[in-house]
Amino acid sequence: MLHTVNKSPFERNSLESCLRLSAAGSAILLFEDAVVGAVQGTKIADAVSAALSDREIYVLGPDLAARGFDQSKLIDGIQVVDYGGFVDLSVDKGTVQAWV
């Protein structure tokens, strides 16, 4: 399953809920304002790092760049995709669940 999160973890609790409830082996894509959840050193970074032990986490590169974040500041293990990669994830990972 692919989980998508598009709101900042400092605005909504959707990323926190997603991390808490998504099953091991699933994939999570952070896009729009949720990309801040992929950056090192924030309040939610430890929870994101912990989830990487049994889930894949991706971030949408164009949304990261649009907000001025450098890819070198990402939490270790998070992978960057473009819109085509987003499409590929939705094909490869099965059902898409949007945490809106």
Partner: protein, 130 residues
């Protein structure tokens, strides 16, 4: 693979209308089929033909319409969500005694059944919301 896309947010609000468009475009360019794009809740505002964004800004309605023309997309606006927001096509305007209509001809008005059918017919239903 066959996709149905659901758009729940209006244009120029946050980013979701843009994200949904970029995802749909990327899927089509990869050779996937998009069975339907369903506009629900404030997403119906993507269909206005009267929007006039500044010239150096993107025109989201036109982006959808151009994509629909190129790939013969079925862009469906939820009738109940549209009517309560004053989004009418010519037929609905006439039927309800209104003096004007504002739905772009690239979009059509229909009901929620079209979303359910889209979910059944497609391999993936991808939701873009607020």
């Amino acid at each position: 693979m066959k996709f149905t896309i659901q758009v729940n947010e209006g244009p120029y609000q946050h980013q979701t209308a843009d994200s949904a468009y970029q995802f749909t475009k990327a899927a089509l360019e990869k050779g996937h089929e998009v069975f339907r794009v369903f506009f629900y809740h404030d997403g119906v505002n993507n269909a206005t033909r009267l929007g006039l964004p500044p010239q150096d800004d993107r025109n989201i309605t036109k982006l959808w319409a151009d994509l629909a023309e190129k790939y013969k997309l079925d862009l469906v606006v939820c009738v109940a969500a549209a009517q309560r927001r004053g989004m009418l096509d010519e037929n609905e305007a006439k039927r309800n005694g209104k003096d004007s209509h504002n739905i772009h001809p690239a979009f059509r008005i229909s009901g929620l059944g079209q979303l359910i059918e889209g979910g059944i017919q497609a391999d993936r239903l991808v939701v873009f919301g607020d």
